[in-house]
Amino acid sequence: MTTKDAVIEMIRRLPDDATVADIMAELYFRQKVDKGLRQLDAGEGLDHDEARRRLAPWLS
């Protein structure tokens, strides 16, 4: 499936009353998710303890 087809399909699945902002938000979300999945495929995933360490500034 080409990127164009994937985007068209994504828009098709959105509710009929989706706004331009909804479409952009969904597209942005997809882009981030796809990038994350590619990182995982490339073996760059981090375990949960490491995730906690990296988020340490936000954990009390």
């Binding site: 981030k32 375990d47 949960h48 988020l55 954990l59």
Partner: protein, 188 residues
Amino acid sequence: MVELIWSPQALSDLGGICEYIARDSDRYAKLFVERVLALAETMSASGGPQFCRDGTIMTTTLTIRDATTAGKKLGEWTVEIPAERITVRELIRSRVYQEVKDYNTRQPEHFRGLVRPTDAEETLNGYRLKKQRQIDWRKQFEKACEAFERNQVLILVGDRQAESLDEEIEIKPGTEVTFLKLTLLVGG
């Protein structure tokens, strides 16, 4: 138990969201990240998430209430469970984890948890800690599981009583879980 693996992208996005929230409130940024981590941990412990068709995770809302054996309602709130089935142990874990983390982050005057923290006194509005401090959720969780096994706390799913920690509960929209404390539980 399912292993959790984070993509660097997801982690940096989560950090970005926290920074954005922290522009207004550090406290809420912390609370938010704790909630996200708690959801991920519950998901892992309950055997993996269920996905909706669009790739988002399906969560089910569960109503939890505390009551006395005389039927008096002490409190009611909802938790999001990232699965349709959950064991009693995980249910206790989600509940204790969430209430302790909320307390630790917000540091309100009273802790309205299942287990009384060791140096706290009971008041009408909940437990008041003599000194403000962080409560240890793991100790509270262990205490709560022990208490359940000793029948010091009963858990009702709808009107049926849960019998073991490993028993699986099916969560449907509108499922209500009641915690009945028969004796005072102390720990953490």
